[in-house]
């Protein structure tokens, strides 16, 4: 079952497995907080794929680290709540939270080299929680790790268990990281920019691998990326983040065909398209991303927005529903991309960015 066909019939309410509601993350003192995530909400249903897209520094990674309560020193959840399978994660004890990590929600991080322990053989670090917590014997864990490496497409897996991380190629390391993430049968897989450090040809392989594993193991997937092209082929829904806030959230089709927020539009037009005429340049977004230390009044995108009005600098725009079904929400009072007349679904933009 692919989520996509399901999304065209959105009326079917599925109990979300992971639900983030009004999440805010701050660093620094309570008097002078640095707010890196502001009032972020999203739901992920079992088996569903959510893409979270935004530039670096937009708070994507901080959001998922907050979900797992793995924020760096000095970071804290300053508002909102995270529910996993009905349980509110912030109220869990350290011990119960540890059970959620790995077994409930697993993380694939972006830089596979720094994410693997350089002084531990692959086999040993893969097997560690399996032996320590899941009661597997050393030989059973070894067998399981060999199977996992085979599953993620690593040749001669038994041999690779004896390797150190630096002895593997970048793509291979990312596969090991994926194998480690799925080793304890998580229900939700969070992939934080899993392909950023890889060659383009390997990128597609890794994304497809993650999606195949998701289908095979029935996991929900949260895929974080700065590249709309990466999520285009596999996400059911996409949330676009800018400066710590979600500015638009919709089904993948709606984002590509009828996005309403100027930032989403700008992101889309910066993707190279195969049918683009030769010589035509990509349209970069003017200006720089917001410095989180700087408190922009109103809409954080207004300094870079070509459609901004005076009102954009005064108050934070509310989330507006694009249609009655509530599936497509965006945060823009100007709404420059409102469909001119009631028309049918617009032709889908060719937005796959060479991924498919």
């Amino acid at each position: 079952m692919t989520g996509k066909t399901q999304m065209t019939h959105p009326a079917q309410p599925v109990e979300p497995i992971l639900s983030v509601d009004g999440l805010s993350v701050s660093y620094g003192s309570a008097r002078q907080p640095l707010n890196v995530v502001k009032d972020v909400s999203f739901d992920v249903a079992p088996g569903q794929v959510l893409g979270i897209v935004g530039e670096s520094g937009s708070g994507k990674s901080q959001t998922v680290l907050a979900v797992l309560q793995l924020l760096a020193e000095g970071g804290r959840i300053s508002g909102g709540q995270v529910r996993f399978e009905g349980a509110e994660l912030q109220s869990l004890s350290q011990r119960r939270m540890r059970k959620v990590r790995g077994q409930g929600i697993a993380l694939i991080s972006q830089d596979a080299l720094s994410s693997l322990n350089p002084s531990m053989k692959i086999g040993r670090q893969m097997a560690e929680p399996l032996i320590a917590y899941d009661g597997l014997s050393a030989s059973a864990a070894r067998k399981r790790c060999t199977e996992l490496l085979e599953l993620v497409g690593i040749p001669a897996p038994a041999h690779r268990l004896e390797s150190y991380p630096h002895e593997l190629s970048g793509g291979m390391r990312q596969r090991v990281l994926i194998a480690m993430a799925i080793s304890r049968n998580p229900r939700v897989l969070i992939a934080d920019e899993p392909t950023t450090a890889l060659d383009v040809t390997i990128q597609a392989q890794i994304i497809n691998l993650i999606d195949d594993l998701r289908k095979e193991l029935g996991m929900a997937l949260v895929l974080i990326t700065h590249d709309l092209g990466v999520v285009a082929g596999i996400a059911d829904r996409i949330s676009v983040m800018y400066a710590g806030r979600i500015v638009e959230t919709a089904t993948t089709d709606q984002i590509f065909a009828a996005s309403r927020h100027p930032y989403t539009r700008a992101l889309l037009s910066s993707i190279p398209k195969p049918d683009q005429p030769r010589g035509e340049r990509l349209k970069p977004i003017p200006g720089l991303p917001v410095d989180p230390r700087e408190d922009v009044r109103g809409c954080a995108f207004n300094p870079r927005c070509t459609h901004a009005l005076a009102s954009c600098t005064e108050s934070l725009p509310a989330m507006i529903a694009a249609e009655d079904d509530g599936q497509h929400l965006f945060r823009c009072p100007v709404d420059p991309f409102r469909p001119a007349e009631a028309e049918g679904p617009r032709a889908r933009l060719q937005g796959n960015g060479g991924m498919s």
């Binding site: 020193e73 540890r98 990590r101 993380l107 322990n117 320590a132 150190y164 993430a181 080793s183 304890r184």
Partner: protein, 314 residues
């Protein structure tokens, strides 16, 4: 690996040449006529002349050095004046006692230092972290002979619980030996303990924020396992370097500590050799301490490679 060790062993040769030249000329600079010490101030000029002749003291300094070096090649370090036996024999006999003390001290300093440093690093900025910083500063600023005297005052004179001097004969058993070792070991270990604790703290703090620690956490691995299997093994190479340097210092630090506690080791013998102008023993002792320093560094380098598989490959 084998070639690496051989190469490092060959590097010892220039070190020996450098150390012997330095000590040879430094001892030559010590004021006073050696024949005065050997024969006493009342000796006749004639007998002094005979002694100078037999010891080669009438030769030029360079010739003396070359004679010394050619004797060294045959393992002859000369004759100790105060012990009236070959220097190599004296050093060999006393080395075990010094090694015992230094070994105990580095063991105590490493175990306690790594434990304290890790413990502090787990809560940076906390009460215990600041507490450790103060203790480290305290131990670092205290001269070892002074610490030794204070310990003797407290445990030997006031509390009367520990022996303060000498080394028991082997028949009196392990417990007596350990009791005699306690105060000199603590004295000798204090400075190194502080250095090791400080290094461990910063090394653990450096690795604990690494991505792979987060990976382990994200898989549900407990904090205890993270410290033990992820943070410490990656922090150890930096700590090992400090332990190696400290071990070299310990052998030289033994001179003061052994003197304060009358521990019959190379250090005490060298102290006495300096007071009695026993030049062959001073030279031999310094040469041996330098050799130990170099060998320990070699061992540390080998361990360093062992703990860091990336170097192992290259």
């Amino acid at each position: 690996m084998f070639a690496f060790i051989i190469r490092r062993l060959l590097q010892i040769i220039p070190v020996i040449i450098g150390v012997t030249i330095a000590t040879f000329f430094l001892t030559w600079l010590i004021p006073g006529d050696p024949t005065n010490v050997l024969l006493g101030p009342g000796a006749s000029e004639e007998s002094r002349e005979r002694l100078r002749d037999s010891l080669g003291l009438d030769q030029s300094l360079v010739t003396q050095y070359l004679i010394y070096m050619s004797n060294l090649l045959t393992g002859d370090l000369g004759q100790s004046i105060s012990f009236s036996s070959p220097v190599s024999e004296v050093l060999f006999r006393l080395m075990g006692n010094t090694a015992l003390l230094a070994g105990a001290a580095i063991f105590v300093a490493s175990v306690a230092g790594i434990a304290a440093g890790t413990w502090a690093a787990l809560r940076p900025g906390s009460f215990r972290d600041r507490g450790l910083t103060i203790v480290v500063l305290f131990l670092n600023s205290m001269p070892s002979f002074w610490l030794g005297l204070v310990l003797i005052l407290i445990f030997g004179l006031h509390l009367r619980v520990l022996p303060v001097s000498g080394m028991p004969d082997p028949q009196s058993g392990l417990l007596t030996l350990l009791a005699h070792m306690a105060l000199p070991t603590i004295t000798l270990a204090a400075w190194s303990l502080a250095a090791i604790a400080r290094m461990t703290r910063s090394a653990v703090l450096e690795v604990i924020n690494n991505d792979y620690v987060r990976t382990a956490r994200s898989r549900g691995v407990s904090e205890a396992r993270i410290v033990l299997f992820h943070a410490l093994p990656n922090a150890i190479p930096a700590v090992l370097t400090v332990i190696g340097i400290q071990m070299g210092f310990l052998f030289s630090g033994a001179v003061l500590t052994e003197t304060v506690f009358s521990w019959p080791g190379v250090g005490l013998a060298m102290f006495q050799a300096i007071s009695s102008r026993d030049i062959p023993l001073i030279q031999g002792g310094i040469l041996m301490l330098a050799l130990i320093f170099v060998l320990i560094n070699l061992i540390v380098d080998v361990l360093y490679v062992y703990f860091n598989p990336k170097i192992r490959l290259n």
